[in-house]
């Protein structure tokens, strides 16, 4: 593959070369993304304790305050305040709760449903496989953003609606990969053996197949989490997601857009948070993929 000549590199040399060492260290364990993720998750869980102000209560005397590193910034509101004087840091913490909660529920649902479909289709084959895979095809060719716009007017924006919508939109992703994996496992000796020993289908699936496709499931789930966070933020941004009475990152970006010429940080700060956590999940997913299953490379 490489057009460079293969040169023997002694281990000693590699330790001395600093950039190489940093690179191989981050290859072994993606430390920065994991720290970012843990920080945001920690902030979301302990938001009521950590937030210095109430997320929805504004102090009009302290409105439009810039973050602490800009001129006029103050350490009481270190990420600044918005046009109504609400503390952006506190709103960010509460926003993280929504983002992570929605993503976690939607991805978990997708994980269970996707694995179930993939394993069933792969294990039984034939008609079952054909029907399930056509259903997956059909599902992945529905434009879900547009469907969200319809649901938003008929049911009205709500947290439950966003979670439900993202959950149903996410189950089909990955079930094809899982099916492929099961297809290759189905004819292994140990599966035949289990069948000879009179093990039931359920037992074979749960005890013998499922543990062996878990690595695919984990990689897909991690990579999907980032796109779920972006999807939730997108719906809130358009005003068709979580109702405006709840602070979310997407809503904060939308509210700040009107004040871009003056209080630009209102939009930029939540975007940086989305960017950081999505990039972290993608990095972790890529790392897991390289580690456990390089063949999944075409996944994204």
């Amino acid at each position: 593959m490489t057009d460079q000549p293969i040169v023997f590199q002694s281990p000693v040399k590699r330790v001395i070369a600093v950039p190489g060492r940093v690179f191989s260290f981050s290859k072994r364990w993606p430390i920065i993304p994991v720290v970012i993720m843990l920080l945001i998750i920690f902030g979301a869980i302990f938001a009521p304790v950590l937030a210095p102000f109430e997320p929805q209560k504004g102090d009009l005397r302290a409105r439009n305050m810039p973050p602490v590193w800009l001129d006029g910034g103050d350490s009481t509101h270190w990420l600044g305040t918005d046009n109504l004087g609400r503390d952006i840091y506190s709103r960010m913490l509460y926003g993280a709760r929504i983002s992570l909660f929605v993503a976690a529920v939607a991805v978990s649902f997708g994980l269970v449903m996707g694995t179930l479909t993939g394993v069933t289709a792969g294990y039984y084959g034939g008609m079952v496989d054909e029907i399930l895979m056509r259903l997956v095809d059909l599902w992945s060719s529905l434009p879900f953003l547009l469907i969200a716009l319809i649901v938003a007017i008929s049911v009205g924006p709500s947290l439950g609606m966003v979670i439900g919508l993202l959950a149903v939109s996410s189950w089909s992703a990955g079930s094809r990969n899982i099916r492929g994996e099961v297809l290759s496992l189905r004819n292994r000796e140990y599966v035949h053996m289990a069948r000879v020993m009179n093990a039931s289908d359920v037992r074979i699936i749960l005890r013998h197949l499922l543990p062996n496709v878990m690595h695919v499931v984990i990689v897909i789930t991690t990579l999907r989490t980032g796109s779920m966070i972006i999807a939730e933020a997108g719906l809130s941004f358009l005003g068709v997601g979580v109702p405006a009475s709840v602070p979310t990152w997407g809503l904060m970006i939308a509210q700040g857009q009107k004040f871009l010429t003056t209080t630009w940080w209102m939009s930029i700060i939540p975007g940086v948070a989305i960017f950081a956590i999505v990039l972290s999940f993608n990095f972790l997913g890529d790392w897991l993929r390289d580690r456990f299953d390089p063949r999944l490379n075409q996944l994204d």
């Binding site: 593959m1 490489t2 057009d3 460079q4 056509r134 095809d137 059909l138 060719s141 529905l142 434009p143 953003l145 547009l146 469907i147 716009l149 319809i150 649901v151 938003a152 007017i153 008929s154 049911v155 009205g156 980032g226 972006i230 933020a233 997108g234 941004f237 358009l238 005003g239 068709v240 997407g250 970006i253 700040g256 857009q257 871009l260 010429t261 630009w264 939009s267 930029i268 939540p270 975007g271 989305i274 960017f275 999505v278 990039l279 993608n282 994204d300």
Partner: protein, 316 residues
């Protein structure tokens, strides 16, 4: 091949039908179907008037009758009248469609040509700083929500540097250069994700082709380096990015909803969001069905292109 074609065609129609069913079913799913025509906060309307409105839109009839009637008019090309604008939906969409198509075309050009060129460069100079730089940019692009990227671009390029206008589309009476300047930012944002896709695909298929026997043979015959890359290798490496083009164009549908909203672009993506916020079901249904059809057609084309290029798929 013919059998495959027919099967995919049937599937495309099935998908299209499912979209109509989902659109209609979801619209009648809420606590009060009248909400899709009348705003929640439109208090003060007497119960008698509400009943009349229900009868006007046929909401008092059973679900399947409503669906069949609605489908009947859709098939005849009648999408009804907008609640907010009191005009036929087809007229509103026809007015707004060109802006969306123009933006998508410009974005596609901005994404495909530089994406393929940089992909080739990345593959040829594999492992160089240049390769790392473009790949990092592509990775960052994947993690950036398009609507936020749009706001960031407006802030930096339009508000701070004042190089380009911040939003909307120029009047058609303006000079060409003025009109073009309004296209740059939205098209760049809309094209950013596809650009990364083109780059990644071109890079990987280029690497594969550069490693193949016929390229080595061309090199051994003494063909110049540039000629090997651009004439021998790229021609074969282009297959992958070409087939994905249909899917890229389909992705513009979701993209245009966000980009048009941020840039106040007078296209149908923004129209859909407005209709959703205005409880204007006829307009929303019209746009969603149009987008849905485009989506299904693009997916169908992508499927067929793949099968033409890779015969193994046909026996799937």
């Amino acid at each position: 091949m013919q059998k495959f074609f027919i099967r995919r065609l049937i599937f495309a129609f099935l998908t299209l039908w499912s979209i109509t069913f989902v659109v209609f079913g979801l619209s009648r799913m809420g606590p009060d179907p009248l909400l899709i025509y009348v705003r929640d906060d439109s208090y003060g309307i007497s119960e008698e008037t509400l009943e009349k409105l229900r009868a006007k839109w046929g909401l008092d009839q059973p679900f399947h009758i409503q669906y069949i009637k609605w489908m009947g008019s859709i098939v005849r090309g009648d999408f009804g009248e907008s609640i907010a604008a009191q005009r036929p939906v087809t007229k509103i969409i026809a007015e707004r469609l060109p802006a969306t198509l123009q933006l998508a075309a410009v974005a596609w050009i901005l994404a495909s040509i530089p994406g393929v060129a940089l992909g080739v460069l990345s593959a040829v100079k594999r492992g160089s700083m240049w390769d790392y730089f473009t790949r990092t940019l592509a990775l960052i692009g994947q993690a950036t929500p398009s609507f936020w990227l749009a706001i960031l671009m407006i802030l930096v390029v339009a508000v701070r540097l004042e190089w380009l206008p911040p939003a909307t589309k120029a009047d058609s009476t303006e000079s060409f250069m003025t009109q073009a300047s309004y296209f740059v930012l939205p098209a760049l944002v809309l094209g950013f994700d596809p650009w990364a896709t083109y780059l990644r695909l071109t890079r990987s298929s280029m690497l594969e082709v550069l490693d193949s026997e016929f390229v080595k043979l061309a090199r051994a015959k003494g063909v110049s380096g540039t000629s090997v890359i651009w004439r021998h290798a790229l021609r074969n490496a282009l297959i992958q990015p070409l087939t994905v083009s249909a899917l890229v164009l389909a992705s513009f549908i979701t993209g245009s909803v966000f980009v048009e909203s941020v840039f106040a672009w007078p296209g149908i993506g923004r129209l859909a969001v407005q209709a959703s916020l205005d409880n204007d079901f006829p307009v929303l249904a019209g746009v969603v069905l149009l987008f849905g059809t485009a989506y299904v057609v693009m997916n169908f084309i992508a499927d067929i292109l793949y099968a033409v290029i890779d015969p193994r798929i046909r026996y799937d």
